[in-house]
C-alpha cells in the first residue's frame, strides 16, 4: 500500500513569487524573512521524499465558472498547464506545466465516488495559483506528478465545513489504501482571515488577527472538534469576505487526523493576510 509521506497545509500567497525573485528597490522589506521561512518549510517536504503530490486547492474563476460549478473536482490528465493571463498580469506568475498521475487520479475518483463523494472530474484542467503557489514554495523544481483536487470555497452555495473535513479524512484513507509502493504527500492550501474587494482589504495585517490566532491553534493542535464547533458557513463572513478559503485548511486537518499535532508550524504576519505553514508526518518525522 502507498505511504502518506507528509500532510502539508499552507496559505497560498500569489505575491511570494514576485517578492522572492525581485531585487534592488523592487524587493519588499519583508522578502528576506519570507524567503527564509519558505526555505525552511520546503525542507519539510523534501525530507519526506515524496514520489507524487495530491494538491488540494481552489480554482479562482479561471476554468470553473458559474454556468457549471462543481463542489469538488479531481483533475485526471497526463499533464496540467498552469497559471493564467490574469495571474501573470497581476502577480507576475510564470507559465508552468506539471505532470499528472492518472493512476492515482482514477483511483481517487472511483474510491471517492464509492465512499459517498460525488466527485466531478476534468480531463483537461489548467490549474491556477492555488496549486502553483505551493509548487513554487515547496517544490520549485516542479518535478513530481500531481493529482489536483479542487474545492469550491468561492461561489455560494458551498459545502459546509464538516464536508471539507470529511473529504480530507477520506483522502487520507484512500491514499493509505492505494495499492502502490509510492510515497504520497497530500498538500493543500487555503487562507486564514482574508478580505478581497471589500473595505477591510490590504490592511497592515490580515482583517481579523484574533481569528488567525485561533485558526493557527486549531490547525497546529489538530483540534478538529474545536474548529468545527466555531466555524460555520455563516461565521466565516465575519473574519473577512474571502475567509471561506479556510475550509481548505479544515480539509487538511481532516487529512492530518483528529488530534494530530503538526510536526512543523510556522507563520508570518504580512500586510493584507497572515501566512501559515504546517507539516505532519503520519509515519513519524524523517531523520
Amino acid at each position: 500500500m502507498a505511504t502518506v509521506a507528509a500532510v502539508i497545509a499552507s496559505t497560498h500567497h500569489p505575491f511570494y513569487y514576485r517578492a522572492s525573485t525581485s531585487a534592488g528597490p523592487d524587493r519588499p522589506p519583508f522578502a528576506d524573512e519570507w524567503v527564509a521561512k519558505i526555505e525552511a518549510f520546503r525542507q519539510t517536504l523534501t525530507r519526506a521524499e515524496p514520489d507524487v503530490l495530491v494538491m488540494v486547492g481552489s480554482d479562482h474563476f479561471h476554468q470553473l465558472w458559474l454556468d457549471n460549478m462543481p463542489q469538488f473536482l479531481v483533475g485526471k490528465a497526463p499533464f496540467f498547464d498552469a497559471n493564467w493571463y490574469n495571474e501573470e498580469r497581476e502577480f507576475g506568475l510564470p507559465r508552468m506545466r506539471l505532470a499528472g498521475d492518472e493512476d492515482l487520479a482514477a483511483y481517487l475518483l472511483r474510491e471517492g465516488l464509492d465512499a459517498g463523494f460525488d466527485l466531478a472530474f476534468s480531463n483537461e484542467l489548467r490549474i491556477d495559483h492555488s496549486v502553483t503557489c505551493p509548487i513554487i514554495t515547496l517544490r520549485p523544481q516542479a518535478d513530481l506528478p500531481i493529482v489536483p483536487v479542487y474545492t469550491n470555497i468561492f461561489a455560494p452555495p458551498m459545502p459546509r465545513p464538516s464536508r471539507f473535513v470529511e473529504l480530507g479524512r477520506a483522502l487520507r484513507r484512500m491514499v493509505e489504501a492505494w495499492p502502490s509502493d509510492k510515497r504520497v504527500a497530500i498538500i493543500g492550501t487555503g487562507h486564514l482571515s482574508l478580505e478581497l474587494g471589500g473595505p477591510r482589504q490590504f490592511g497592515p495585517h490580515g482583517p481579523d488577527p484574533e481569528f488567525d490566532r485561533k485558526a493557527v491553534g486549531w490547525i497546529a493542535n489538530g483540534d478538529v472538534d474545536g474548529c468545527l464547533a466555531e466555524v460555520t458557513l455563516d461565521s466565516l463572513h465575519a473574519p473577512g469576505n474571502a475567509t471561506h478559503g479556510f475550509m481548505d485548511f479544515m480539509l487538511m486537518m481532516g487529512a492530518a487526523g483528529d488530534g494530530a499535532k503538526a510536526d512543523y508550524t510556522d507563520s508570518l504576519d504580512l500586510f493584507h493576510t497572515m501566512e501559515a505553514y504546517f507539516t505532519w508526518y503520519p509515519e513519524g518525522a524523517p531523520s
Partner: protein, 119 residues
C-alpha cells in the same frame, strides 16, 4: 437584478486582455456592445447556441458604465471578480498598493453583513 450577468461581464472581460483595455478606455461602448453580443453567449458552447433571456437592469448598466466598484459590491457582484478586473485597469495609474487601499477606503461606510453574492 442579475448578479450572475454582472459576474459574467466581469469574468469575460477580465480574462481577455483586449477587453480589459477596451473597458478601461470606453466603458459605455463596451457595456453596450457586451450586452448585445456576449450576454447571451453560452460559454463553452457553439456560438449559435445562445440564451435568450439575459439582460442588465438600467442600474446595473450604469454601475458598469461608471466603473462604480462600490455600487457593484452593493449589488452583490462577486468582489473577487470586481477587484481583479479593476486592479488590471487602474493600478497602473497609482503608486504601489495605493489603488487597492483607495478602493477599500471608498467602501469604509459598508458594514457587515455584506450583500449576498450567491447567484
Amino acid at each position: 437584478m442579475s448578479k450572475y450577468l454582472l459576474d459574467k461581464f466581469l469574468y469575460t472581460v477580465d480574462r481577455d486582455p483586449e477587453l480589459v483595455e477596451r473597458y478601461r478606455s470606453d466603458p459605455a461602448g463596451t457595456v453596450q456592445w457586451w450586452e448585445r453580443e456576449v450576454a447571451n453567449t453560452v460559454l463553452n458552447c457553439h456560438a449559435a447556441e445562445k440564451s435568450t433571456w439575459l439582460a442588465f437592469t438600467e442600474d446595473e448598466r450604469r454601475a458598469l458604465r461608471e466603473h462604480d466598484h462600490v455600487t457593484l459590491f452593493r449589488m452583490g457582484a462577486h468582489p473577487f471578480l470586481t477587484l481583479t478586473l479593476f486592479i488590471a485597469m487602474f493600478e497602473r495609474d497609482h503608486g504601489p498598493l495605493e489603488y487597492q487601499i483607495g478602493y477599500a477606503r471608498a467602501m469604509d461606510h459598508i458594514t457587515l453583513p455584506y450583500p449576498d453574492i450567491a447567484t
